[in-house]
Symmetry: C2
Subunit: 193 residues, 2 copies
Amino acid sequence: MPWEKSFDESDVVEKTMQVFWKKGYAATSISDILDVTGIKRGSLYNAFDGKDDLFMRGLLKYDAEQRRSMMRELESVDDPREAISMFFDFIVRRSNSDSDQKGCFLVNTSLEFSQHSEAVQKVVTDAFKEISAFFEKQIKRGQEGGSIPDTISPRETAKALVASLVGIRVMGRGTFGKAALQQIADQAKRLIA
Amino acid sequence: MPWEKSFDESDVVEKTMQVFWKKGYAATSISDILDVTGIKRGSLYNAFDGKDDLFMRGLLKYDAEQRRSMMRELESVDDPREAISMFFDFIVRRSNSDSDQKGCFLVNTSLEFSQHSEAVQKVVTDAFKEISAFFEKQIKRGQEGGSIPDTISPRETAKALVASLVGIRVMGRGTFGKAALQQIADQAKRLIA
DNA sequence: GCCTGTTTGGACCTTTTGGTCAAAAAACGG
DNA sequence: CCGTTTTTTGACCAAAAGGTCCAAACAGGC
């Protein structure tokens, strides 16, 4: 059994993810990836299947490390109102602390829609569905506990919260200033007030 | 004085706009534009400056014909609450009636952020600022007339409405179903209830 | 220290990219 | 019907795209 790779495979995926995240799929070239990873062409194609493969891996990594891990933390928050509130604050903080203003990789990808495979599209839509389901669950919990009014519709309000979240992610790429994002988040919370 | 162009220049811009709108800047090639317009390479470069120029013209056309013209109509609506409501319904209808699910050209462009010139970025940010200002104005009018509660902040609520709008436009590209968009819009309206 | 099987580097390939150019074609004034 | 002026056409270009390939470099087992 001879030899291990000299480069860290997951490190390459990480760096590749960053580029796709920032520039999008179409605007990112293999040369860009070579530059940022320091790896050589042959090594890349020896370890991965190509551009699509790299993109998918990056997207899955993002989904696991950013979205899923955050949601796992929030699942353990007792107060459902607080869980939703923290979700928004977390996203605002994330948006405002990224000097590259890359936004959300999932949102960005959802707008490159047509140029992606069904598999990629599924990752994105599933992610949004899960976020929506999370909000819905928390709203129901809040209604049971009496902290959220029974008059609102859990499912529809959940979708509205997702839309606000997406809006924050888009506007966070430069259209509005930093202060605005928190303001939007605070307004969105009024939907469950 | 000899000869007029055999092709309709504004027709070329229209068709070009549709392609950029649907596929984005990076994923659209000159050949795509040639195909969809039926024009030949030389003619294109004789009439326009290049890809960037075409993109800018398309974006300006969209802004004028879609966003500005809609807002002009809404300016003349008496009831401020109704004006805001109609804005959302209009966008929902537009999203749901587009079989290509192209979304909003301005929103799409705002996510291609980094690859565009300052001039393009300005068109986008100005558009959002104007929409926000429109909402703010209507909210203030509503408060003066008594149809919108004084307790809400006009400026911040306006921004939240913009974010919701953007969210609808993004989710309208395929993530959520058609019914969901109207539901989100209806929830967003609760911010001024 | 040599054989074995993998990784590496980079030359190379084809296709596509955005863009140029010169010759041919066409409408107008005279 | 002839020059002038502009559009049109398609060949052409250099650069960049994504991807392939193979000789050289390499770390194990024996």
